[in-house]
């Protein structure tokens, strides 16, 4: 069994939108929204050569499942799969897929958006950019984000 057969997974394997979609396809669904995060070459003037993602895998998968539960509670009838790749990635590689199916299209966008925003808030995965002129971990260079208390999105000052 491929690891991609798990709907909530953090893996070194290449991700596939077809496989992610299969997790959420079902007869009650009229709409499926797939958000795919890919490795972008240019960020302003800076050129990315490649990226490396690191994760606290066990906890990250647990948090992905938690996000899935949140979505299913908020959008009844939805199905969710969230897959994140880690390790070295080249330009245009798929880093993350959020797949959500719902009966109607409006909620598929809302729910998918909720998924990716929550990933960026609470899932312990870190991106290291390898620029043409250096390297850096993303997320803490500015020092503007402080997690002072408890779970992100629940604490009083969890996100800048």
């Amino acid at each position: 069994m491929s690891i991609l057969q798990k709907p909530f997974v953090v893996t070194n394997e290449r991700l596939s939108v077809d496989e992610a979609m299969q997790h959420v396809t079902n007869p009650s669904a009229g709409a499926i929204n797939l958000f795919v995060g890919t490795v972008r070459e240019w960020t302003g003037e800076k050129q990315t050569e490649h990226l490396e993602y690191e994760a606290y895998v066990g906890m990250a998968e647990k948090m992905l499942r938690k996000i899935g539960d949140e979505i299913q509670a908020k959008w009844p009838g939805s199905r969710v799969a969230i897959q994140h790749r880690i390790g070295k990635m080249e330009i245009s590689d798929i880093a993350v897929i959020v797949a959500v199916s719902t009966p109607h299209r409006h909620e598929s966008y809302e729910a998918s958006r909720h998924g990716i925003e929550r990933i960026k808030e609470m899932v312990p995965i870190w991106k290291k950019e390898f620029w043409t002129d250096g390297e850096s971990w993303v997320g803490n260079q500015q020092g503007t984000i402080e997690y002072s208390k408890g779970e992100p999105g629940k604490g009083e000052n969890s996100h800048d």
């Binding site: 995060g37 993602y53 690191e54 994760a55 606290y56 066990g58 906890m59 990250a60 647990k62 994140h84 880093a95 993350v96 990716i116 990933i119 960026k120 808030e121 609470m122 899932v123 312990p124 995965i125 870190w126 991106k127 290291k128 971990w137 993303v138 997320g139 803490n140 020092g143 984000i145 402080e146 997690y147 002072s148 208390k149 408890g150 779970e151 992100p152 629940k154």
Partner: protein
């Protein structure tokens, strides 16, 4: 014994990915953090920014640690 995990920039700054600490059970999360900031002064800024997870769940500063807990320092995340 308590297990402590460091990730990403914090692993680089401390030079450690995982350490074991004795005689910590009974302390709060905040007390452990302060202790480690003294032990790894080069990683103080990163530690103060990090969230803490205990046994794979985000913890409050005031939570009390127990024998065999796994404590993870979670620098600001950047997945997605």
């Amino acid at each position: 014994m308590i297990n402590v995990l460091f990730f990403a920039g914090l692993a680089e700054k401390t030079g450690q990915r995982e350490i074991q600490l004795e005689h910590i059970a009974g302390s709060t999360v905040e007390q452990l953090k302060e202790k480690l900031m003294q032990e790894y002064p080069q990683a103080k800024a990163e530690m103060s920014q990090a969230m803490i997870a205990v046994n794979e769940e985000y913890a409050e500063k005031t939570d009390t640690l127990q024998e065999r807990d796994t404590v993870a320092f979670i620098p600001p995340v950047s997945g997605g």
